[in-house]
């Protein structure tokens, strides 16, 4: 799985990122680099700023200060659409699904196919066909794509969230604890999908709390503490025990 060379080009960089919420400092001058084609793990306790970092990298939040570079060029990610147009996409821990909407509507939420012209009509049939392909690509069986997402199991929901991101030709996929809300079998499905995307050349930043999964998936890791990178390293040579020991050591 270790396909990214240590000297492969830098794809996404964050430098000196500061983000405050009122008096709470979520990120305190954090800097990190993502190389092209690698799977990078973000480790650390809850509330150290990992999710905030991903929300900034996907354009959902704006940093107070700091710069982001894509392919070495400074970019200001205006909003989620802008980041998506640059090939950066995200799967949230809560999967960001709308229970009342159908599977098709969720997969294409805010990326609907419409007719062109002044009055843009939803192309529901086209979206339905595309959704069938996407779900097949994710490899999960769903009874009907027209049923509301609220009726699905945890694994099926995860599949819908994944189908949502695999439709665009993403370069960077961000995953915020994608395995927290799913069972063991579904977790394997998610891991397989991430592996497939990685094999297709997608670079991944993933927040994980199960260090076995980190060993499974990631090539490199950052340990985040107090809104900064406390340590970085290569997963090679680590076991989950030694990784836990490393994370614990940063707390001292």
């Amino acid at each position: 799985m270790n396909s990214a060379h240590p000297d492969s080009p830098l794809l996404l960089e964050a430098e000196g990122i500061v983000k405050q919420f009122g008096s709470i400092v979520a990120l305190n001058g954090l800097s990190m680099k993502l190389r092209s084609g690698e799977v990078l793990g973000l480790l650390g306790d809850n509330g150290v700023g990992k999710s905030t970092l991903l929300k900034i990298l996907t354009g959902y939040l704006q940093p107070d200060t700091g710069t982001i570079r894509l392919d070495g060029e400074v970019v200001r990610l205006r909003d989620v659409q802008h980041a998506r147009s640059l090939g950066i996409d995200i799967i949230y821990q809560d999967l960001a699904l709308v229970d009342q909407l159908s599977i098709v509507e969720n997969i294409f939420l805010n990326r609907e196919a419409t007719t062109s012209g002044p009055i843009r009509v939803l192309r529901r049939r086209a979206m339905r066909r595309a959704a069938e392909d996407l779900i097949e690509r994710v490899g999960v069986k769903l009874p009907s794509l027209e049923q509301p997402v609220g009726t699905l199991s945890g694994g099926q929901r995860a599949a819908v969230a994944i189908a949502r991101v695999v439709q665009t030709n993403d370069r960077v996929l961000l995953l915020d604890e994608p395995l927290a809300a799913v069972g063991v079998r579904e977790a394997q499905t998610v891991i397989d999908v991430v592996r497939n995307l990685h094999a297709e050349g997608v670079s991944v930043i993933v927040i994980l709390h199960n260090y076995g999964h980190v060993i499974d998936l990631c090539e490199r890791f950052y340990i985040v503490r107090d809104g900064q990178i406390a340590e970085e390293g290569s997963v090679a040579g680590h076991t989950s025990e030694s990784l836990i020991a490393t994370v614990l050591a940063t707390r001292l």
């Binding site: 960001a96 709308v98 229970d99 939420l109 843009r120 939803l122």
Partner: protein, 343 residues
């Protein structure tokens, strides 16, 4: 998930009925009813109509159908855009007041020498500002829309009373203008146009889809990059504009511009029509067709009870009981169907 969509536990109460509905045809019929919840309401409305026709023998006359349509149309015109707003998780109590204000603005615009059609446009633009205030205060200042629009409810009413000195004036326009904008059957034709327009927006355009998404899961909609603020404020503005237009039409219909037209009566009727029609008051589901049928049922109740010569004092009591009955039927049925789907 809102409580309304979590009814599985209630399923056990309906075991007798469920056993009767075991066949595949019955299941398919239930699916049909679930998909088209409006059908049950339409059936109830038709039964009600049949009842009033049998009791009074007058309902199906041209004169009374016209009367019925003129009661129904303003309610329906306000209800259709209200579906979008309520589906997105907000509410607007001020629509009855913008309804009353707009024809006065037309009247005074005309007196100032502005051509009638331009005065109409200006009046609609002016009441749209009320919608913009509702939206901006709700979205950017975080005041719940119930409270925001309660404020504009009183404020706009006061404005109408001040500029009119509390006195009615004549209705604007005669001849062809009146034929198109309010007289006879034109009011219900405008209401059908509103039905078609807002049904199309809700079911076939991004705007409607986003309304449902925002009402269903606000956070997820934002995370997906939907401009939630724009949609919400837009809904308030559209609704205020339509309510102003409906008020102008209604003034022509009744041939008087009355500061006491509209108000809380039509606002509550419109919101009742939306909710009776099947739109979730908490947001996340909407049906314009249902709201239109709901407006019809409410108008039918009002018209039918009048035809029967029910004492005006008893009217509200009966209307209240009828609204509650329809709602209880509707909620019970959809819970039952949803419960079976999830079981």
């Amino acid at each position: 998930m809102p409580e309304g969509l979590r009814p599985a536990r209630l399923g056990s109460r309906f075991t007798v009925g469920s056993r009767l509905l075991q066949s595949r045809h019955a299941k398919r019929f239930e699916e049909f009813l679930f998909r088209y919840r409006e059908v049950t309401l339409l059936a109830a409305g038709l039964c009600l109509g049949a009842y009033f026709q049998l009791m009074t023998g007058k309902l199906l006359s041209n004169a009374d159908l016209l009367n019925l349509s003129q009661i129904m149309a303003p309610i329906a015109m306000l209800a259709c855009p209200t579906v979008l707003l309520i589906a997105s998780g907000e509410i607007d109590l001020s629509i009855g007041q913008t309804f009353a204000l707009a024809p006065f603005l037309v009247h005074f615009g005309q007196q100032a020498g502005i051509p009638l059609l331009l005065a109409d446009v200006l009046a609609i633009a002016a009441v749209s500002v009320v919608g913009a205030i509702n939206g901006v205060v709700t979205v950017y200042l975080g005041v719940p829309s119930f409270v925001t629009t309660l404020g504009t409810f009183f404020g706009v009413n006061g404005l109408t009373l001040i500029i009119s000195s509390g006195e009615p004036v004549g209705a604007p326009g005669t001849g062809l203008y009146a034929t198109i904008f309010g007289q006879n059957w034109s009011l219900i034709i405008w209401a059908v146009a509103a039905l078609a327009l807002f049904h199309f927006i809700l079911k076939h355009m991004r705007w409607g889809l986003y309304c449902v998404a925002i009402g269903g899961n606000y956070e997820a909609s934002r995370e997906a990059g939907i401009k939630v603020d724009r949609i919400k404020i837009g809904n308030f503005i559209i609704l205020a504009a339509v309510s102003g237009f409906a008020g102008i039409l209604d003034a022509v219909t009744v041939n008087i511009t009355d500061p006491l037209a509209g108000g809380s009566a039509i606002m509550f009727s419109a919101i009742s029509a939306v909710v009776i029609g099947g739109t979730a008051l908490a947001g996340g589901f909407g049906t314009v067709v249902g709201a239109f049928i709901g407006a019809g049922v409410l108008a039918l109740l009002q018209d039918g009870l009048t035809l029967q010569g029910i004492n005006a004092n008893a009217f509200d009591l009966i209307l209240g009981i009828a609204i509650l009955s329809v709602m209880i039927m509707n909620v019970t049925l959809s819970r039952h169907l949803l419960g079976r789907r999830r079981a």
